[in-house]
């Protein structure tokens, strides 16, 4: 490995002032730390979503009527004020905006990070970081692909089902059919492992980035992050495994 580093910078003395955009949101977005804050806040919204989603999935174990009723409830709630699916669409838009901001900020920061070390190390040992932290980027890419697939699969019934198999709002029926297909089952399992890793580092990262990490509570925050990640993981994989094993039919 050879290198041609850039010319040494001479220390200048001139100080010239600059200005960030006046709009607070744009000013925040214009700094890398601001983008981190955006990632933390949007990540927090998405964490709350996956927890609620996971709890909803557990209704599989309460039977077809319960989970199908829950699917209808999500569309009928806040009627007539917001109309059919009104509240659901508000939540969907918030989630969509969060995912987009999260991914755009991650991509921009990642580019900046790669540019910061043009010449790499021959030998570099990581001593503090975790697999979850190292895999954050690739895990995120996999999760983005998973989200697209998941919506096309269970929300729209456009992929993964043979014609006529998918029935709108028949969640139990759809889940049973879907998870008897081995590659769909495998893809969901792999994606949930990625989610578990992403949450393990992500939740702690969010708390740290927002400045809630202190010397005293560090272990607690890391343990909390891991606990949520594992509980969400187990909650999500339980129904597909139960279907595959034939416990739910």
């Amino acid at each position: 490995m050879n290198s041609l580093a850039t010319a040494p910078a001479k220390t200048g003395r001139a100080i010239k002032p600059g200005r960030l955009p006046g709009n607070p949101a744009l000013a925040l977005w214009s700094t890398p730390i601001g983008k981190k804050v955006v990632m933390a806040v949007t990540g927090g919204i998405l964490v709350l979503f996956v927890i609620v989603h996971m709890i909803g999935n557990l209704k599989m174990f309460a039977g077809a009527e319960t989970i199908d009723a829950y699917a209808r409830f999500l569309r009928e709630v806040a009627q007539p004020e917001l109309g059919y699916s009104g509240l659901l669409w508000i939540v969907r838009i918030i989630l969509l905006v969060s995912v987009v901001l999260h991914i755009v900020a991650a991509a921009q920061l990642n580019r900046m990070n790669r540019l910061a070390r043009p010449v790499g190390y021959e030998v570099k040992k990581n001593i503090a970081t975790s697999y979850a932290a190292v895999l954050m980027g690739w895990g995120g890419v996999l999760l983005a692909i998973f989200i697209v697939f998941h919506i096309l699969h269970f929300t729209l019934g456009a992929v993964g089902f043979k014609p006529g198999q998918y029935e709108d709002l028949q969640v139990y029926h759809n889940m049973i059919i879907a998870f008897h297909v081995w590659w769909i089952f495998a893809f969901y399992m792999v994606s949930m492992v990625a989610l578990c890793f992403h949450l393990d580092h992500g939740i702690w990262s969010m708390l740290h980035t927002l400045g809630w990490n202190t010397r005293k509570n560090r272990r607690t925050l890391r343990a909390l992050s891991r606990l949520i990640a594992v509980v969400v993981f187990l909650g999500f994989i339980s129904a597909p495994i139960a279907v595959m094993a034939g416990w739910l039919h």
Binding site: A5, A14, G18
Partner: protein, 265 residues
């Protein structure tokens, strides 16, 4: 002790560098790592070869001049220790050690293991000062500082600016350094007048120098010879949002004579 060394040799930034292998003999365990390199350099000089360049000054672990990677770990791996304070008893006879300089876009190589860290100076220039009134010195204790805050500010002030945090960070981020320098002054009453201006200017300067961002790997904290805790990073993020909330938009930009490489936001 006899050791095999593989050292990065590069005459200057505009020529290619490569690793060279050396053997040092009769090293005693009580020598510091830099004294071991002194022995190597004496040997090289006596043979008419060019000695290995490395930065050093106080050799007491308080100046921040020294530092390079030993087998992939900044400052060698003994917790809270600079490479000058690292005794050879930390290693075993016959060990093979790879020595590499800090690698970062913002730390251009000077020679061999020495890099230019003036990017750090410019970050400090942009906001690492306080407004001190002229006239007679005020009486001691006229400005009261709570003990916990004084301790915390001192923890931050312990930073010697060696650059190990940047070197160890997978993103070459200077967040730990900048956070320490911001908090050293932002925590204290004397630092309050310029608090928001300082936070914003130093954070913008850090970015303009081409350092990466923080992805919370905690590698910086693990190699920091002064054990600066990473919670300063999270708190610095809050200092930024506080400054923006207060309407602070102006930042001081310290210009260089020669811009190293183009950095796009």
């Amino acid at each position: 002790m006899n050791l095999k060394l593989k050292i990065w040799r590069q005459a200057n930034a505009s020529v290619r560098g490569k690793f060279e292998n050396y053997v040092v003999r009769d090293i005693t365990p009580d020598m510091s790592f830099l004294e071991m390199l002194d022995v190597l350099n004496e040997d090289l000089l006596s043979r008419g070869e060019i000695p290995v360049a490395f930065d050093h000054d106080c050799r007491e672990g308080i100046c921040g001049s020294c530092g390079f990677l030993i087998n992939g770990v900044a400052h060698g791996g003994q917790k809270g220790t600079t490479v000058c304070q690292l005794a050879m008893r930390f290693f075993k006879d016959g060990d093979s050690l790879t020595l590499e300089p800090w690698r970062a876009q913002s730390f251009p190589l000077v020679r061999d293991l020495a890099v230019n860290r003036s990017a750090f100076d410019r970050i400090i220039q942009s906001g690492g000062y306080i407004s001190a009134p002229t006239g007679g010195a005020p009486d001691a204790n006229t400005i009261l500082v709570p003990k916990e805050i004084a301790d915390s500010a001192f923890d931050a002030a312990a930073c010697i600016g060696c650059g190990a945090c940047v070197a160890a960070c997978p993103n070459s981020s200077a967040m730990l350094f900048t956070a320490a320098k911001v908090h050293q002054l932002n925590l204290l009453p004397q630092g309050q007048p310029q608090r928001d201006q300082r936070s914003l200017s130093m954070i913008v300067a850090m970015e303009e120098e081409g350092f990466g961002g923080c992805t919370n790997h905690r590698e910086c904290e693990a190699v920091c010879p002064k054990d600066i805790p990473i919670q300063f990073i999270g708190q610095m993020n809050r200092e930024l949002t506080r400054a923006l909330r207060h309407g602070e938009r102006k930042f001081a930009h310290v210009t260089r004579d020669a811009e190293p490489a183009e950095v796009k936001r």
